[in-house]
Amino acid sequence: MPSMQPYTDPRYFCILLLALAPLVLGLLRGRRHRNYESIVSLVFIVLMFAGPKWQQGVSLIVYVAWQFGLICAYAHYRKHNNAGWVYYLTLFAVILPLAIVKITPAVAGGQPSLIGFLGISYLSFKAIGTLMEMRDGAIKELRPLLYLSFLLFMPTISSGPIDRYRHFAKSYDNAPSRDKYLDMLSHGVRYLFQGFLYKYIIGYYFGTILLPIVARRALLDRAAAGGTGISLALVAYMYVYSMYLFFDFAGYSLFAVSVSNFMGIDTPMNFNQPFRAKNIKDFWNRWHMSLSFWFRDYVFMRITFFTMKHRWFKKRVHISQFAYLCNFLIMGFWHGVTWYYITYGIFHACAIIINDIWLRFKKGKKLPSNRWTNALAIFVTFNVVCFSFLIFSGFLNKLWFTTAIR
């Protein structure tokens, strides 16, 4: 049996929508059929890992059992105790599988880890967030079955958007009112078609048609500009890749939100016109939002809180700069342990630190602010971002460190 990857072909959408039909009818009558929902979710997850991908399926099952066991044990412990070392030990164990999967290719010459599977990152984000909120006491009572449904929520399992346990619980526990649900459905249909346009028309054009052409040209020009390979074709590659990255991923995210809407679950949006951002801070509030907000709340805020409380730095500015650096370094390492992902992280840390310095400098000064300065800000931000995506793409690695044209 061949495996079925989520949102990849028309057949998948047809089968999925058919399978969801009873759920939609139920929700229209104000009822949420949770058992049926779980069965549909499970069937589609099985289909993802059927056939040649069965090993990944086994990894998923072991992984979920691991996370489930850890969180239940911690929930039991946290009822009456709250020692720091137990929390840190559990946190370490929750992160461990993801860390192994990310580090293995770097030390094993590009070989992927045996315990990896599509979606391990996104499941880990959910698990880590839930654990931290339990430590904080924000989650008072963890419901094991709800936690499983949350982890294995099918529309978002492979690539997000990343929901939060408490937010998911709110959606899951109540069926939306008829009016609310009709509104969700109409948005769901719109997102579905917007997703088709983004991923299969615009994203396809940039990624499948244009990208190979500019890549070939840039590789042919690799001796340009004194051997640095900086050529017009490389600049073209940068913009084409950036467009492809946005439309492909935004399209994918729209599908996930759309299908969640059909199921009456409110999944957060992932993109909000990121290329209209006026600065890098603004950009991270618009680009892959569920990830950047996750990093903001569970990494940046916690590092800031910790360093402020323990007075590691005298100046507030240094705290934020330190926290930004850690935040984006971790994000870089998470993308993968390669020089270009880590450079991408450091690049964004520097960009946001410079952005911060500029904003502080500007504060209280009467600098001109009009249509033109706005346009300039958007233009500069756009180019800084596209350059960061060129680093991220790994193309420079190919251009500089491989010899044969592939």
Binding site: M132, D136, F305, K309
Partner: protein, 77 residues
């Protein structure tokens, strides 16, 4: 000092502006506060009013305006 005065004086330190006549202004949307200010606000509230606010309780939607902050603090006290 009561809760309102304390919150306003903390916010005054953080944003550099007197917000007493702008009690319903969204501090995040207007860019007056960012994540750093948020953490400092949480720490100051802990120190001055002895309310314990876990970072994960800090949902921006519930802490967006001076009035909302005062309400939340009173709830947590």
């Amino acid at each position: 000092m009561d809760v309102k005065e304390t919150v306003l004086s903390i916010l005054n330190d953080l944003t550099g502006e007197d917000l007493s006549d702008r009690m319903d202004e969204d501090l995040f949307a207007t860019g007056l506060m960012d994540s750093m200010d948020t953490v400092q606000l949480v720490l100051e509230l802990q120190e001055q009013l002895e309310v314990d606010i876990p970072v994960s309780e800090f949902d921006r939607k519930q802490w967006a305006t001076p009035n909302m902050i005062i309400t939340r603090v009173k709830e947590l006290q």
